[in-house]
Amino acid sequence: MTFSYYPGCTLKTKAKELDAYARRSAEALGITLAELPDWQCCGGVYNNTKDEIATKLSSVRALISAKEQGNKLVTLCSACHNVIKRTKNEIETNDDMAFRVSNYMQCDARKDSDTEVVHFFELLRDTVGFDELKKKVVNPLTGRKIAAYYGCLLLRPGKVLQFDNPENPKIMEDFIRALGATPVIYPMRNECCGGYIAIESSEAARKNSAAIYESAEGFGADCMITACPLCRYNLIKAESTVPVVYFTELLAEALGVK
């Protein structure tokens, strides 16, 4: 199966391993990730300013490009996923936005950017299937106690992202189980790491991130996984006592392609 793939800037710079392990794993699972030609930055942060459109247009370009290829669009970075999916939702629900996007892009926004946006986790759950994934695991991570760290961007706003129950998600735990490891359930797994507040107040971000890894450690985690480069950055910056790795690294390890 072929999917259009949107890596995003961070995956080409700071988070190369998130990207590399995902590609290798996808291959092992029989999935072709076709990187979009000439993709641009998703916009970085979803802009809530009503009249701001320029930053959203780059997400629109990704949506249109995938549509032209006739594919669903797979994302990996939580932030890119959040921005692209919310941009698509705004075109769907806001007439003014659809009108302006159509004008800027010289297209019929609702039709031409009507691309299904799928996060890599959703790909594993809905296309591969966790039961099937389990069968393809060659190095089961038996005995490893792994804490899923969701952060906010994959889960919220819940009605738009439709990723999982934002208060009590389970997709990452199911993923961990499929790899043969034991998920560690801890209450801070869907709390914010601090995000971009790190730029303005590194102390605020450190406090948030510390509370997260302390909670995971308290419940006996020996490793934390995330899909978000910024979450990982903040946790490591806060001197996490629990190693934080990208989920694709574990996946590649379990599939024997690390």
Partner: protein, 663 residues
């Protein structure tokens, strides 16, 4: 030709503020058939009614149109007025120019025009009205009360006290309802069981009351005064006539790991059980989901130890048919499920409980014999956080938009009782608003704060986080000091919103009683007829109509009983003459009407017809039982040959109304 009088009401400024009533009276006075037209400030007042009576006499009116409020408000009033002046009540038509006109429009010109159209429509209809006479039907002197909580119990006792037979149907094995599960009652703190169980015993001992416990209403047919109800008596697998309630079977039953639903699953009981010591009727019931004998045919211990020989594994559901003059709905409530509130960790931690669960945890007959212990490790909790409005006043689609009304008071009660019994326990209450109207209610709440030192914090809890050491970290905001709080608690108690019992919705369909969007039964008038359903003969008691505490429930229960007694005391009821009838010459026997009739009022008969060639032919034709027909009109719409018609709302009349609007 009818001589029609038109009476336009100002309703103070309610109508006259937006509708030029003089212009309406003048315009309608020119309509064909109208011989008199006037307006008056309050047509429903005595002076207004006299004006109508005088006009009927002086002008020899044969039909009148009152342009006023909704017919639901005053149609009955004006029908009486007409009758008093010697005019048939069914020669009165109401043009609703208040709810459907003045209240919803702002522009006087537009509203006046519309009022004239509505009046013209009513005139067109009344011109075709014919006098109708209501027949009388006898009233069955027996009432059915559905639901055996405190509401149903009080209603049943009051009706029985007036000398009428009452059947009390309860779906659980015992009557008592939620009140039986409550520990203490506010604001007097008397023990719930001590005041409830004598009433339960009264019910059992009253020879006018027949309790159908572990039973459900299966179907309802008929109408006010003559309901025909089928009650399903579910199989208990215990012969009620033999069981003495000794309880030996419950002790000997080996299936001890059955969740005890009376204690909300906080502990276990045996598969054969008596819900609690004071149960009425005190008869054992076998839980078929857990009984090994019923599931696998292996065991039979209860049968062996029962000295009375009451166990009957082959018992079947029984169906009982009974006639009733009136039906009271008292189906009560349940706390909502908390699945949509994962942030409070209710499903994750056993130490996060609902308020009703706390009642059981504090009750002497509860899982811990009345000592408050943490469910997880049975230790004494030193810090307890209460969260109010969990699912109440919630405008997201997770919970309920309404205030559950009872939570502020019971939370104050819980907080006070805990501080009284365990002074070393700190108690925090997070609230949106404290709402304590009611006799001695606010004083009660203030005592909790001032005398018992309960920490009330205005704000909501954002998250409850179970910690590795078993504590619960509660994160919330204090809106008055604008601070983020973190409280390390041993237990968290959630004041879950209440919602109508799930059985209420299907029951409402059976009774054709209306409900609101939250599944509370609708009253006939929110202020003036609060205990009656708009469906005649159906009465409402307790929380099934809206959130209520015990004193209010009991008051409403007695009010419903008074209404039932008033109905049953009548020798006969005037039936609605606006019923359907079929023109047998047009009926083609297709059964369409029979299929759509919600009351089962239509049957088919074979009838002999004399044909033009003087032969006779037998044809199958529809026949309406006017005593059962409620005049809903569904059949007249369904009938493809136009044979079915409704008295008072004939096809011709409806078309005349449409013509008048389109003119």
């Amino acid at each position: 030709m009818q001589k029609i009088g038109v009476f336009v009401c100002h309703c103070g400024t309610n109508i006259a503020g937006t509708v030029d009533v003089k212009a309406v009276a003048e315009a309608l006075g020119k309509e064909p058939g109208v011989v008199f037209s006037t307006e008056y400030q309050y047509m429903c007042s005595e002076a207004g009614q006299n004006l109508i009576k005088d006009a009927i006499k002086n002008y020899g009116l044969t039909g009148i149109v009152v342009c006023s409020c909704s017919p639901r408000m005053h149609e009955a009033t004006f029908r009486k007025t007409a009758a008093a002046a010697g005019l048939n009540s069914y020669m009165v038509e109401i043009a609703n120019i208040r709810e459907q006109c003045s209240w919803i429009h702002k522009d006087v010109k537009v509203a006046t025009e519309k009022a004239i159209v509505l009046g013209r429509t009513a005139i067109a209809k009344v011109a075709l009205n014919t006098p109708l006479t209501a027949s009388e039907t006898p009233v069955v002197k027996r009432a059915l009360v559905i639901g055996g909580g405190i509401a149903g119990i009080q209603t049943a006792l009051d009706i029985a006290d007036a000398g009428y037979e009452v059947d009390l149907v309860e779906k659980e094995p015992t009557i008592g309802g939620k009140m039986a599960q409550i520990d203490k009652t506010f604001p007097t703190l008397d023990c719930a069981a001590c005041i409830l169980t004598p009433k339960m015993v009264d019910c059992a001992q009253n020879e006018k009351i027949h309790i159908y416990a572990y039973s459900e209403v299966e179907s309802v047919k008929g109408f006010v005064g003559n309901f025909n109800v089928t009650i399903k008596k579910k199989a208990r697998f215990v012969d009620e006539t033999k069981c003495t309630g000794c309880g030996i079977c419950t002790e000997k039953c080996p299936m001890k790991k059955t969740p005890n639903l009376f204690n909300l699953g906080l502990d276990n009981r045996s598969a054969i059980y008596i819900p609690f010591a004071q149960a009425i009727p005190k008869i054992a019931t076998i839980d078929a989901d857990y009984c090994n004998m019923l599931k696998n045919g292996k065991c039979g211990v209860c049968s062996k130890v029962c000295a009375a020989g009451a166990i009957d594994y082959k018992q079947q559901d029984q169906y009982i048919e009974q006639q009733y003059g009136a039906i009271v709905v008292a189906t009560g409530f349940n706390p909502i499920k908390l699945d949509n509130y994962s942030e409070f960790a209710y499903n994750e931690s056993p130490d996060v409980v609902t308020s009703l669960e706390l009642e059981r945890l504090m009750n002497a007959a509860g899982p811990n014999g009345g000592t408050l212990l943490r469910p997880s490790d049975k230790t004494h909790p030193h810090t307890i956080v209460f969260v109010q409005c969990v699912g109440s006043r919630d405008t997201t689609d997770c919970g309920k938009p309404y205030c559950s009304k009872i939570c502020c008071m019971y939370t104050a009660k819980h907080a006070m009782l805990i501080r009284d019994k365990y002074p070393d326990t700190e108690v925090y209450v997070f609230y949106m608003d404290v709402r304590t109207p009611g006799k001695n209610f606010d004083e009660f709440y203030r005592r909790a704060v001032e005398d018992y030192g309960v920490h009330y914090i205005k704000g909501m809890v954002g998250k409850v986080m179970p910690q590795p050491d078993g504590k619960l970290l509660v994160r919330g905001s204090d809106l008055l000091t604008d601070e983020q709080l973190k409280i390390e608690a041993d237990m968290v108690v959630l004041a879950a919103a209440i919602e109508p019992d799930k059985t209420a919705r299907p029951l409402a369909t059976m009774l054709t009683a209306s409900m609101d969007t939250n599944d509370f039964f609708t009253e006939a008038h929110p202020k003036l007829r609060p205990v009656e359903s708009p469906t005649a003969g159906i009465f409402l008691s307790g929380v099934c109509q809206g959130p209520k505490d015990i004193p209010e429930t009991v008051a409403q229960a007695s009010a419903a009983a008074a209404k039932v007694i008033g109905l049953l005391a009548k020798p006969a009821l005037k039936s609605n003459p606006c019923t359907a009838h079929s023109d047998e010459n047009l009926c083609n026997g297709c059964s369409s009407c029979e299929r759509v009739c919600p009351y089962g009022a239509i049957s088919y008969v074979d009838k002999e017809f004399r044909m033009p060639d003087r032969t006779t032919k037998v044809r199958r034709v529809a026949s309406v039982n006017p005593a059962v027909c409620q005049g809903c009109g569904a059949c007249t719409v369904a009938c493809p040959s136009g044979a079915m018609d409704l008295s008072g709302f004939s096809n011709k009349q409806i078309m005349a109304e449409v013509d008048a609007i389109c003119r």
